[in-house]
Amino acid sequence: MCLHTILLDPSNPDRIFVAISAAGAFRTRRCWQDLEADKQGTQISLRAPDSTAEVGHCVHRIAMHPSRPSVLFMQKHWDVMRSDNAGDLWHEVSDNLPSDFGFPIDVHAHEPETIYVVPIKSDSEHFPPDGKLRVYRSRTGGNQWEALTNGLPQKRLLRQRPARRDGRRLAR
C-alpha cells in the first residue's frame, strides 16, 4: 500500500487529489483540513470486495489534464474509469481493452481526451496479455482503444525461468 499519486488542481489551489493503493481516491474539500473520500467514487466495480464502500478500493493511478481539472481518469486494480465531476461519480471506460487490469494511466500533454494505459494480464500474472508489450491509446477519453505496438517488443517478451541442475524450474 502506498500513496502514489498527488494531483494539484491548477484552477483551485485548495483542491488536491490523492490516490492510495488499497485505500482509494481522495480530494480535499477545504485545504488539507478535510480530506473526504469520494463518496460515489469507485462503486461501479463489481470486483471490489465491497463495491459501495467509500474507501478500500485499490486505485493504481489517477491522471488529469491541467486544462480540465474536473475530468479525472483512473486505472484501478481492475477497471479503467473516468469521472467528469472531479470524482463525484465514476464510470468505467475499459471497453475493448484486452485486460482492464493495469498500473499506469496518463493523459497526453496537449490533448485532454487522449489517454494511455498498459494492460496487464491479471493481478496474479503481471505481464502483458499474449506476452506482447502494447500501449493502448484512446483519443476519445476512453472506451475506444487502439493498440500501439510500433517499436515495442511483440515476441520473446517472456523469458523462462532458469532451470536448476535437476531440471526443475526455480520457484519465484
Partner: protein, 43 residues
C-alpha cells in the same frame, strides 16, 4: 503539437515516443527494474 511520452519497464527498458505513441524507441535497455520516470524538457 507533439509531446514526448515515456515509460519504463520492470525488465529495465525505457521507451519514448515523440508522436503520441504511434512509434516507440528504446531510449535505454538493461537497467534494473524501472519503477518510475520523470521527463524534463531541456532548453
Amino acid at each position: 503539437m507533439n509531446a514526448a511520452s515515456t515509460f519504463g519497464t520492470t525488465g529495465g527498458q525505457v521507451y519514448a515516443s515523440a508522436d503520441a505513441g504511434d512509434t516507440w524507441n528504446a531510449v535505454v535497455r538493461d537497467l534494473p527494474a524501472v519503477l518510475s520516470i520523470e521527463a524534463q524538457t531541456l532548453p
